[in-house]
Structures are given as structure tokens and as C-alpha cells.
């Protein structure tokens, strides 16, 4: 299986080509997998020890990796994985190079952008109105949760095209809040 992987940590983005050969038993929860990563060939001994949690041995070293799948804000429909190795997080997108879905998915969106609720809570206040121009960092709205008020700010300058919520209403994590053009 040939894959293209894009990994992001902080602001840095790196792209890798990886070929992985798994044993044919699809139901197996562990085994030896061979891989080619760039010019390097190797073997990993993997075992799924809990759903999404892998014990991985490479060259005798023992690692634990937790894999969570998610859709990053702004690019719904494009699945990406957050991999935690020990205490470090990596955001990794996995693509099939034959399908040519872009590594561009992780780049910043230039077009209209939807702002989603980062957490469940109540909309305490809306700080902008429709069609208002905002600068990057301007407060958009305030969500109240866990005895704190949390202000959500604009990721970039733009114009508020749509406000999807009302003051006083509860929202779930991921609820669309504002569309910025």
C-alpha cells in the first residue's frame, strides 16, 4: 500500500511517501509490517492494545501511539488523523497518491471560511453583525462554559457573511457559528 502523508506540528508541514506491507489477515490485531519510508526500509512490530491505541516496536524501541481521526476546521470532509506518540501530538493526513487528493488540504484557506464552535457551551454574546468587516484577531463571539466566558476571535481579516447562532442558545462542539469571507 503506497501512501502520501502530510504531517503538521505547530506551523511546520512536512510531506512523506510511505509504502506499508501488512499481513493479509485483515482482522489481526497485531503482527509484523514492512515499510519503506523515503529511502529507508524497515520493519515494525505492531499490536493494537486498545481501540486506536497501538504498541509499536521499531528496532527494539517500544512506542505507544494513539490515533484519533478528525476533520480539521475549515476543511470538512477531508479526514485527518491526530497521532499522539508518548507526549507529542502530530497531525497527519493520509492520502492515496493515485487519487491525487491534495496535500494542500492543510494549507490555510483563502476563500470563505466557516468558524465552528470549539467546545460545547452557550452563546453568551455575539460581538459582530452581518456584513461587518473585521480585522484579524477581532472578537467574534463569546461562548460560556465551565464558569468561564471564552471569546472566539477572527483567524484573519475579512467580512462577516453569515452568523448561524443566536445569543443564549446552546451549541455543540463543531456547530457552525460564523462564515467569514
Amino acid at each position: 500500500m503506497k501512501l502520501t502523508l502530510t504531517v503538521r506540528r505547530g506551523s511546520e508541514i512536512r510531506k512523506h511517501h510511505l509504502e506499508l506491507t501488512l499481513p493479509s489477515d485483515a482482522a489481526a490485531t497485531g503482527g509484523i509490517a514492512r515499510y519503506t519510508l523515503g529511502a529507508e526500509r524497515g520493519e515494525m512490530d505492531w499490536a493494537e492494545v486498545a481501540p486506536g491505541v497501538y504498541s509499536i516496536l521499531v528496532n527494539g524501541r517500544s512506542y505507544e501511539a494513539q490515533v484519533v481521526t478528525s476533520s480539521p476546521t475549515g476543511t470538512p470532509g477531508e479526514a485527518s488523523r491526530v497521532v499522539t506518540v508518548g507526549t507529542l501530538d502530530f497531525q497527519v493526513s493520509v492520502h492515496d497518491p493515485r487519487r491525487r487528493r491534495g496535500a494542500a488540504s492543510l494549507a490555510a484557506a483563502d476563500g470563505p471560511q466557516e468558524i465552528h464552535a470549539p467546545m460545547p457551551g452557550k452563546i453568551a454574546r455575539i460581538l459582530v453583525s452581518r456584513h461587518q468587516e473585521v480585522v484579524a484577531g477581532a472578537g467574534l463571539l463569546v461562548i460560556e462554559a465551565m464558569k468561564m466566558q471564552n471569546e472566539l476571535r477572527a483567524p484573519r481579516a475579512g467580512r462577516v457573511e453569515e452568523i448561524y447562532v443566536e445569543e443564549g442558545k446552546g451549541v455543540e462542539a463543531g456547530t457552525r457559528l460564523v462564515r467569514l469571507a
Binding site: 500500500m1 506540528r9 506499508l20 484519533v68 476533520s71 476546521t73 465551565m146
Partner: protein
């Protein structure tokens, strides 16, 4: 001894009190709001009664509903935990009038010590050291300006009814005073319904050190040494230790004696904590007294070998103290981390939600006091303290090494917590050297203590392999378990979020 005790609280402290009761053979009664039906304290208790909707003012702060649950259950005493009604003299008095025992200090002591200015006056009258400042509320700006000029800048404006960093303003020079005065009053009004402020000398890089006291109803009052609580983020404690790396035997004795005197002048019994500021020359000044169990009481328990909650219950039942001052032997060192549901990578944004995986550390010297469980959803309505990780070591350096080990073992998935933040703190050279003060954490954060580690090539390779493995097994695009919280984590890292205390 009581046969049944009601715990008028929720979360980790409710469970902690119930554990003490169970070890004493006392039946436990929980109260819960609508959103807490599945909370651990309800599961842990022998009995449980609903007391209203999520909003605290309609449930955990409703004295009438709690007393009703007391009546229905036949409980003989109430433990208030900390927060909610723990320092409310009206509640203590209502218990007394209903003929049940309030597990805490006498009402009069709560009243005297509950007012920052009244307690200050009493302490000054007894000739004990306090932070220089006003000994009463200041009604006009002119008064404030005069007192500030007297004691000299920098000064701290504080809400009289305050707590938790609200209504607090540091003023460096006379020119800043007026605007600070206005905003402090406005915040105090918003937060506590009372705009009164007073003023104190601001100590440069002070340490916050507090003394645990314990007294019975027969006039015996002792102290159990100090706790170092200088590790605060925005004036809220996040990590505490016992003993303080600053305090030697002589200072401990002097602070302990002062704390006992504060307790005596208020006619105090049960457990209480006297808070001091300590300056760079090791002068200490009375700050305030907390007339309840502290969040951080476990560090004292581990070093003193005394179960404070059980002692609270025994004292409330009228038993005499089982230790004289000279019987108290402190051994080793203990450190507590407050595990909050907050995302340190994202400006400590609160992070309620489903705990999908939870593995607390184990092994030697590790204590875990928790109010949560795997599969439980942290509600948005209450404060974000999930659990406390407390470790003991034969000395401070063993305790720190053990804390690092325990933090590395701690796994919480589904929500973000302050665990990664503590992993950085325990590696910080100044923390290791014990050179901490109340602004250490804010400084360390500003200096980038949480900056990304550059991963080794090996670690990144493992991340790639794990992602590829997972994709090969579960499909490239279809997420096996969508996790919106990750969205927030990744999207919000760029500092696009800010937060402040909710106005009540």
C-alpha cells in the same frame, strides 16, 4: 459517631469525603443537580437525592433543598467540601437550627474570618503581621489614593468580597490608580454584587505559603506545617507542595504559632487554613483565613500521615484531638497537580466533553483523587477540576521525579487537560531549584514553557507509521471515531481564543 453524613458537594471532593466516611463505617448521602445524575459522587454514595437544575444557584447553593435532602435521608451531619456553601455562615446556622451538625468551624468564626477586612482588623489588633494596607473598605477614590500614597506603590486593589482573582488590580504608579479603581469596582460588582474594594501593599514576587490548622471543641488547636502554593496561574493555584522549599524548621514554627494564634482569637475549631505571603527576606504576612478544607489538603495528609477529613468528622462529633503539637511528625515531601479540563496548548480554554479513555497513574507513592470516570461526559456547568494527582517522595527531588513519572503514565483522551502543562513544569530548572513565586507560572508561560518540542526523527517516523497503519486498517477517509475536540485543539492553537471568569 454519626451513622449517616450528607455531602453537600460534587466532583472529586464529594468522593473524597465519602471515602473517609466509608472507612469510618458512616453511610453517605449525595445530592446532585440534573446534569450530575451520572456523576461519580452519585454512584459512590449510599443514597442520592436530586436538588434541582444544573445552575448552582438552583441546586448546590440552595440551602433549603439541601436541608430537605438531609431530612429525607435522616443524615445527622453535613460535610460541605470546599466551594459552594463551605464558607457560608448562613448555611452553618441553618444546619444548627435544623438540629444537624455542620462539619466545619463555629458560625461566629466563619463570620469573623469570612470578611477580609474584619479578619485583618482582628489580626492587627492581636499584634500579628499583616500585609501593609487598608484595614477597612475604602468608600471613595480619594481615600484609596491617600492610602496608596501612604503605603507606597506598587499596590494591589482587591474586592472585599472577592476570591479567585476576580476584582483584583495591580497598580504600579499613581497615574494608573483611577482607571484601575473603576475597573476593579465594576468587576467586583459584577462578580460578587458588592463593589467594595480595599488596598494592600504589593509584595514583589511573593510566595504564597499557608498553614494547616486543626482544632477540637475542647480548646486544643495545633498546626500541621505549611503548604507552598506559589504555583498559580492568574492568581489561581495549580500545584501545591508540602513542605515549602523555602521554609525551614524555625520559620515553620513561627508561622505555625502565628496561625494557631489566628485560630484562637477567632475561637476556631475543625480544619482551617491560614494563608500568608512571604517576601524575599522570609518575612511573612497574614493574608486571609479559609474556614474549610482546602483543595490541596492531600499534600499535608501524605506528609503528616493524618487523614484530615476523618479528623474533621471526629472533631464535629465532639471527639478530642488525637495529636498534641509535639506528636506531629512530618515525613518526606508531597506535591499535588490539579488536573483541570482545560487545554494548555490553547490558552487554557475549558474543555468539557466525553472522556473516551482514562488511565490514572499507579505504583508507589501515587495518590489519585478523582471525581470522573471513563465514559463520563464532563458537563459545561461547573468548574473544570477533574482530579488531583498527588505524589509522595522521601524528599522533594524524589517527589518531583515521581511526579514526572506519574504524569507520563497519565492518559486522558477525548478532552484536553492540564497534564501536558505539568509535564513541562516538572522539568523547569527554576521549579526544580524551588525558586518559585506567585508569578512564576505566568512568567514561564509567557516565556514559552509550552512551546513545541521538536520531535526526534524516530518519534515522527512512529507517528507516520501509526497513521498509515490506522489508515490501512480502517480506511483512508472514513473516520472511525470523529473527535470534534481535536478540531478545536488544532484550530485554536494560534491564540484566537481568550477567556475570563463568568460574571455571576
Amino acid at each position: 459517631m454519626f451513622r449517616k453524613v450528607l455531602i453537600a458537594n460534587r466532583g472529586e471532593i464529594a468522593v473524597r469525603v465519602m471515602r473517609a466516611c466509608r472507612e469510618m463505617g458512616i453511610a453517605t448521602v449525595a445530592v446532585y443537580s440534573e446534569v450530575d445524575r451520572k456523576s461519580l459522587h452519585v454512584r459512590y454514595a449510599d443514597e442520592a437525592y436530586a436538588i434541582g437544575p444544573a445552575l448552582s444557584t438552583e441546586s448546590y447553593l440552595r440551602i433549603d433543598r439541601i436541608l430537605d435532602a438531609v431530612k429525607r435521608s435522616g443524615a445527622e451531619a453535613v460535610h460541605p467540601g470546599y466551594g459552594f456553601l463551605a464558607e457560608n455562615p448562613d448555611f452553618a446556622r441553618a444546619c444548627e437550627e435544623a438540629g444537624i451538625v455542620f462539619i466545619g468551624p463555629p458560625v461566629e468564626a466563619m463570620e469573623l474570618l469570612g470578611s477580609k477586612t474584619a479578619s485583618r482588623q482582628a489580626v492587627i489588633a492581636a499584634g500579628l503581621p499583616v500585609v501593609q494596607g487598608a484595614d477597612r473598605n475604602l468608600e471613595t477614590f480619594e481615600e484609596v489614593a491617600r492610602v496608596a500614597a501612604e503605603i507606597g506603590y506598587p499596590v494591589m486593589l482587591k474586592a472585599s468580597a472577592g476570591g479567585g482573582g476576580k476584582g483584583l488590580r495591580l497598580v504600579h504608579a499613581a497615574g494608573e490608580l483611577e482607571s484601575a479603581y473603576r475597573t476593579a469596582r465594576a468587576e467586583a460588582q459584577n462578580a460578587f454584587g458588592d463593589p467594595s474594594v480595599y488596598i494592600e501593599k504589593y509584595l514583589e514576587r511573593p510566595r504564597h505559603v499557608e498553614i494547616q490548622i486543626l482544632g477540637d471543641q475542647h480548646g486544643n488547636l495545633i498546626h500541621l506545617g505549611e503548604r507552598e502554593c506559589s504555583l498559580q496561574r492568574r492568581h489561581q493555584k495549580v500545584m501545591e507542595e508540602c513542605p515549602s522549599p523555602l521554609v525551614d524548621a524555625n520559620l515553620r514554627r513561627r508561622m505555625g504559632e502565628t496561625a494557631v494564634r489566628v485560630g484562637k482569637l477567632a475561637g476556631y475549631f475543625n480544619a482551617g487554613t491560614v494563608e500568608f505571603l512571604v517576601d524575599r527576606e522570609r518575612n511573612f504576612f497574614f493574608l486571609e483565613m479559609n474556614t474549610r478544607l482546602q483543595v490541596e489538603h492531600p499534600v499535608t495528609e501524605m506528609v503528616a500521615g493524618i487523614d484530615l477529613v476523618k479528623e474533621q468528622i471526629r472533631i464535629a462529633a465532639g471527639e478530642p484531638l488525637r495529636w498534641r503539637q509535639e506528636d506531629v511528625e512530618m515525613r518526606g515531601a508531597a506535591i499535588e497537580c490539579r488536573i483541570y479540563a482545560e487545554d494548555p496548548a490553547n490558552n487554557f480554554f475549558p474543555c468539557p466533553g466525553l472522556i473516551r479513555r482514562l488511565q490514572a497513574p499507579r505504583g508507589p507513592g501515587v495518590r489519585s483523587d478523582s471525581g470522573v470516570y471513563e465514559g463520563w461526559t464532563v458537563p459545561i456547568e461547573y468548574d473544570s477540576l477533574l482530579a488531583k494527582l498527588v505524589v509522595w517522595g522521601s524528599d522533594r527531588s524524589e517527589a518531583i521525579a515521581r511526579l514526572g513519572r506519574a504524569l507520563a503514565e497519565y492518559e486522558v483522551f477525548g478532552i484536553q487537560t492540564t497534564i501536558p502543562f505539568f509535564r513541562r513544569v516538572v522539568e523547569h530548572p527554576q521549579f526544580l531549584a524551588g525558586e518559585i513565586d506567585t508569578s512564576f507560572i505566568d512568567r514561564a508561560l509567557a516565556e514559552g514553557i509550552l512551546a513545541h518540542d521538536e520531535p526526534s526523527a524516530e518519534t515522527e517516523r512512529v507517528a507516520l507509521l501509526a497513521a498509515a497503519l490506522d489508515a490501512a486498517r480502517n480506511g483512508l477517509g472514513r473516520p472511525p471515531a470523529p473527535a470534534p475536540e481535536i478540531t478545536w485543539k488544532m484550530a485554536g492553537r494560534d491564540g484566537l481564543l481568550d477567556r475570563w471568569p463568568r460574571k455571576l
